[in-house]
Symmetry: C2
Subunit: 292 residues, 2 copies
């Protein structure tokens, strides 16, 4: 049996092959549009959403040729959200994964359009998937809902709202984390079950929401205790910018405690699912203790 | 038989009823997200795309209950494109239809998200339509393609590229106008034919492209000779900002001549279509001679 690193690498390679092919075929007039989209897509991310989708797809026996299109769309949507989030009047980030952000390289106008282009192209891929039949349409609709105003965009808006108005509170914190971060991770693990007629959909939906929260708490901890050299982004920005995060709200020790509680919850959900969930457990462990 | 104004008003009322219902049900947390979306949606536009879709739908006997969802999505997509286009690093417009633009009222960050929210919600509506079957999926895919990087977004990018690099030329001008303006108008008139199995699809596609061009040429003429009081937007910006338009490229007299040639082409296409095309001819006449 492959170890965790090997298996992650295996899924990553499969997805990166798909992404590389997509990028090599992506052209536009003027070329700056597709170049700015590819610059952000090929920014060396962990690809955690696609890897999750491949792992769950494998586990429940979904067809890779099909779900890989959803994985690609999801990575396009994730990338668009980062580009718009990094803009000067949003999070105003100059670096992402050690490279200059899209608007620093191409200018704000082009970055807005690169994001719009990625979002639109993601849905263009999904409309193609819908031709296969009802469950494919349902899966596409689910991704769209997770990304939308009742999902990720709602979370981004709440994040900005709390920052601009110096608003704090547990309810807002939970809302931001669930929507801004956890919804797209939920989409990643819930699409294969939808494609397979709904088997384990509820379990994976819950797993995605909790894993997404765990991912964000660790992100918040890394913002304080991480290493620019490893993370490739500015450290300590959350507090400076009045951001509502687990660490600014609960402090670092309680955030670590909450992370451990959610970690246990994720493992418990996985134990209720038939099949080999070992890789997903290791991935949860990786999310809990990651340094990048 | 109803006159042109009455018929336009009739379609407009039907669509505005649909839009009002949609807006009354649109909520978000935080509320600023849905408020900023509604502010821009309910900005008193001419609704030319929805009116076109209702008129063509009527003409070829498509089901209003169905195509009205496409009309709504298209207006959401059109509105998102205006919000992002008006941003400071894009066209930098303070006024639209006599009201402050979205980013002037809600700030740039919220305006970016309002646009993202509108685009995503438009596709959420279309994924629902896809459940009805293949031709509905084809129509949704067509709208998405018209809005995408090979369509409207490509046109916006080209517009920005030519402006930023002081590039001129007939080929770029044609590309910008076809994609930035004409593609969404094409979507408006091509969706009902797609829903009806493709009848007159090619004719309406060509009509949409030409009507879209005509619309843009007149827009360019109005930028020079229009009236702020009627148009509700700043006059004379195109030349000042080095924009590549029909008027800055050809001058006003040749632009008028080209408009007349394209007008004739539109009428000719309509004459090749069975059924009562009178309203569409009058609408073409209205687009040619409009002052708003």
């Amino acid at each position: 049996m492959l170890g965790f690193q090997e298996k992650y690498g295996d899924y990553l390679n499969k997805f990166n092959g798909k992404l590389d092919k997509f990028c090599s075929e992506l052209t536009s007039k003027p070329s700056v549009l597709s170049e700015s989209m590819k610059y952000s897509l090929l920014n060396g991310g962990k690809r955690i959403r696609p890897v999750l989708m491949y792992a769950v797809g494998d586990l429940i026996g979904a067809d890779e040729e099909v779900f890989s299109d959803y994985a690609l769309s999801l990575e396009l949507i994730h990338t668009y959200s980062l580009i718009h989030d990094d803009l000067p009047e949003m999070d105003n980030d100059d670096y992402r994964r050690g490279k200059l952000t899209c608007h620093k390289v191409f200018g704000t106008g082009n970055a807005v359009l690169a994001g719009d282009g990625l979002l639109n192209t993601a849905y263009s891929i999904l409309f193609n998937c819908c031709k296969r039949g009802r469950e494919y349409t349902d899966a596409a609709g689910f991704v769209c809902k997770c990304a939308g105003i009742g999902g990720m965009i709602g979370g981004q808006s709440a994040d900005l709202y709390c920052e601009n108005n110096a608003i704090s509170g547990e309810e807002w914190l939970e809302y931001i984390v669930l929507n801004k971060t956890a919804k797209l991770i939920t989409a990643a693990v819930a699409v294969p079950p939808i494609l397979k007629g709904g088997k384990y959909f509820l379990e994976f939906k819950q797993f995605g929401e909790d894993l997404g929260k765990l991912f964000q708490i660790v992100d918040d901890i890394l913002d304080v205790q991480g290493d620019f050299g490893k993370l490739g982004k500015t450290i300590g920005k959350d507090k400076e910018e009045n951001k509502l995060t687990y660490v600014t709200f609960y402090g670092i020790d309680k955030s670590r405690f909450i992370a451990d509680v959610i970690y246990d919850k994720c493992i418990k959900i996985l134990e209720g699912i038939d099949g080999d969930t070992e890789f997903l457990k290791q991935l949860t462990e990786f999310v809990r203790h990651r340094e990048v």
